[in-house]
């Protein structure tokens, strides 16, 4: 469905069920160049497991037609405004890659809103290589190759990923090529420029689970493990034989980790 957020249209996916205020709210935030379909299977699962699920297409991504933003605080402003417009008082946030930075920013800024963080493919700071930034800025398809290549484990590229009969590598390239001009570059820039000056980790007080992929080349596991130690309530779960695109590579293992992080830990 489409919702109006600060005067801009935002596409919002609810996992195939109606949003229900009486259930705990779970917000999934995708990464740079992705959209809500990154989370579709997980969203459908938790929407049938007692949660009201919200999966926005971030500005410029997927079905949200406005321009992509170029800073993490701006994306956090957007998602916070979205939750306010839906009268969501509390929510657990699940973020992937750039979405994990957005979730951390939201948690630091509004600790009373965020009940729990689950962060996949997370690192802070999240530096992006000049080669990828340059290719994205030039709208060169080599940027898609780099994301699809460095973003997945070799075996995942060979096996085809989690989609039955699918091919993850080609799927990522097609997904990235669908973005409006400037979306990938702006989103990667947002990741690259978000650093210690912008975020105080000590402000994140909720239980935070890092779901770490052992073969993540974009945000190496060591980054998340170090980050978890810096948070007042950080912990880690590891998904084996997996790269940066966890839910698209090892869907079942990642879903079990999400379940553990969101439900079993209560």
């Amino acid at each position: 469905m489409n919702v109006d957020v600060q005067g801009q249209t935002c596409q919002l996916y609810t996992g195939g069920t109606d949003f229900n205020h009486s259930q705990p709210c779970l917000v999934f935030i995708h990464g740079a160049g992705m959209d809500h379909t990154f989370w579709a299977t997980s969203a459908r699962y938790f929407a049938r497991s007692g949660y009201s699920v919200l999966v926005p297409d971030l500005p410029g991504h997927g079905g949200s037609p406005c321009s992509a933003l170029d800073s993490i605080p701006a994306y956090a402003d957007h998602v916070l405004a979205l939750l306010a417009s839906l009268n969501v008082a509390q929510a657990a946030l699940v973020g992937h890659s750039m979405g994990s930075l957005v979730a951390m920013e939201m948690a630091a800024r509004q600790p009373s809103l965020v009940t729990r963080l689950v962060l996949l493919g997370a690192a802070f700071p999240m530096r992006v290589s000049d080669a990828l930034l340059d290719a994205a800025n030039a709208e060169d398809p080599s940027a898609y190759d780099m994301v699809a290549g460095f973003g997945t484990a070799y075996r995942s590229r060979l096996q085809g990923g989690a989609m039955l009969g699918g091919n993850l590598y080609h799927s990522l390239r097609v997904q990235l090529a669908r973005n409006r001009r400037g979306t990938l570059f702006n989103a990667l820039t947002a990741c690259n420029t978000y650093d210690e000056d912008a975020l105080a980790l000590a402000d994140i007080i909720c239980l935070t689970t890092f779901i770490v992929a052992d073969q993540d080349m974009m945000t190496p596991a060591a980054s998340a493990l170090a980050l978890a130690e810096q948070l007042p309530a950080g912990r880690t779960l590891t998904v084996a034989n997996c790269g940066h695109m966890l839910v698209l590579e090892q869907a079942q293992a990642t879903q079990m980790a999400l379940h553990q992080a969101l439900i079993d830990g209560d």
């Binding site: 195939g16 190759d145 060979l158 091919n167 390239r173 997904q175 079942q252």
Partner: protein
């Protein structure tokens, strides 16, 4: 192109789609023959049926062995996903009926495979889908055939046995102009010779029983989706862009994005038709894929030698193979089929149908049977077999005459094949000499 991070063709032929050790134990393909799959618990069962967890419920929808084949073919063709079917025609039927609605219009090449033509003119016509057959050699004819209600353009990489090559890039430009998908039947070439998605096709269909399986021991088909067609923006296909009229809550574009079409194929089309590929057939096709590049190159090389030989024979009026300089599509074939235009030749004999009869009876090694691309070389008389329902006008339009023989070149020794052909052609010549 796949880019620097992606394994190359021969590696993909052997490894792509192979699941983890827990599922497939090592490198060899494993066959899962069960009809249904055990659930961990109630939650797992419900999640699988609600498409809220990835996995298999029934082999009528998906199966680990079949999924390996599907992923491998998607990898080879450059698609986002593939759905395998029991036969090649099941794939074309599934691909078309999942797209088209009553009142829709299709533009198809005039030299279509007769079975596909029959699907369009008989079954789909009865269901309210109208088809215009156009001469795809002239892209202006394709554009002229387009209507406001056109919802699909369909062509083949290479039409058999006349060897007409589709200029996919040019036809894809028309498809984009009219915001409709371009579906290409790549049976005659396979991904080894050409990847239609790289040239602009949106959907690829293929019969797997020929070149891909190679051993003539299994039949099957596949639909491969490029994932590039934007179903939402055209608004022509409500089955993908509107919520299902049931309690599933499934909205294919919203839920599955670039996989909307392939998911619809599997969970609606395949479920409705029951045309799933047998896992045992999938295993045989997977084993064939291991050697696809070796076999195809060998067959193409052999076809080239045989085409050259046949051209020099007095009993042969013409050889139709796009990799020959004499073929009208030679320049196009050189551009889009640099490894060769497949291993099926059209051979026009001097002396018409009577000469064909003598020729076929005189062959000792080469089989008289249908099918193309398998290990055995075979001949067929299209006018009285595959095209027997065509009237003289349709036959003429397709370039199918009484004198035309289809020769599918297999893996036997090239010199042995030429000897057999030479012997049969001598019989044709002797027969001609005896005529008054």
């Amino acid at each position: 192109m796949a880019g620097p991070f992606y394994p190359r063709f021969e590696t993909l032929c052997i490894h792509a789609g192979q699941r983890t050790e827990a599922e497939a134990q090592g490198q060899s393909s494993v066959v899962f023959v069960g009809n249904s799959f055990r659930f961990r618990d109630m939650d797992h069962a419900a999640s699988l049926h609600a498409l809220a967890t990835s996995g298999h419920t029934s082999s009528a929808i998906s199966n680990p062995t079949v999924a390996t084949l599907e992923s491998r073919l998607a990898a080879l063709e450059g698609g986002v996903a593939a759905v395998a079917t029991a036969t090649g025609m099941a794939a074309i039927h599934l691909a078309m009926t999942s797209l088209l609605n009553a009142g829709d219009h299709v533009v198809a090449t005039h030299v279509l495979n007769p079975k596909t033509r029959q699907l369009l003119t008989r079954t789909l016509a009865r269901l309210g889908v109208v088809t215009t057959f156009a001469d795809f050699r002239d892209v202006r004819a394709v554009r002229s055939a387009m209507r406001t209600d056109t919802r699909l353009i369909f062509a083949e990489t290479v039409a058999l046995p006349t060897g007409e090559v589709t200029d996919i890039e040019a036809v894809a430009a028309v498809a984009r102009e009219y915001t409709v998908p371009l579906m290409i039947d790549a049976t005659a070439t396979t991904a080894y010779l050409m990847r239609p998605i790289d040239l602009g096709a949106d959907i690829v269909v293929q019969c797997l029983g020929g070149y891909v399986c190679g051993s003539d021991t299994a039949i099957g088909g596949v639909v491969i989706d490029s994932g590039r067609y934007d179903w939402s923006s055209s608004g022509y296909y409500p089955q993908f862009t509107q919520a299902a009229a049931d309690d599933s809550g499934i909205h294919f574009v919203d839920d599955f994005g670039v996989h909307a079409y392939s998911m619809y194929l599997r969970y609606v089309g395949l479920a409705d038709t029951g045309a799933a590929l047998s896992p045992l057939s999938a295993l045989q096709i997977l084993q064939g894929l291991d050697t696809l590049s070796l076999r195809m190159q060998r067959q193409v090389d052999s076809a080239s030698a045989i085409a050259t030989f046949l051209q020099a024979q007095s009993s042969v009026a013409a050889v139709h193979w796009p990799s020959l300089e004499t073929h009208p599509n030679y320049a196009l074939a050189r551009r889009v089929l640099p490894r060769g235009a497949g291993a099926v030749l059209g051979v026009s004999l001097q002396g018409g149908r009577e000469a064909v009869d003598v020729f076929v009876r005189a062959l000792q090694l080469i089989e008289h049977q249908g099918g193309v691309g398998t290990r055995c070389t075979s001949v067929l008389h299209p006018a009285t077999t595959t095209h027997y329902l065509y009237n003289s006008g349709d036959l003429s339009q397709c370039g199918i005459g009484d004198e035309l023989v289809q020769l599918s070149v297999g893996l036997e020794d090239t010199d042995d094949l030429i000897s057999d052909l030479s012997r049969a052609l001598r019989q044709v010549a002797k027969h001609a000499e005896r005529q008054p």
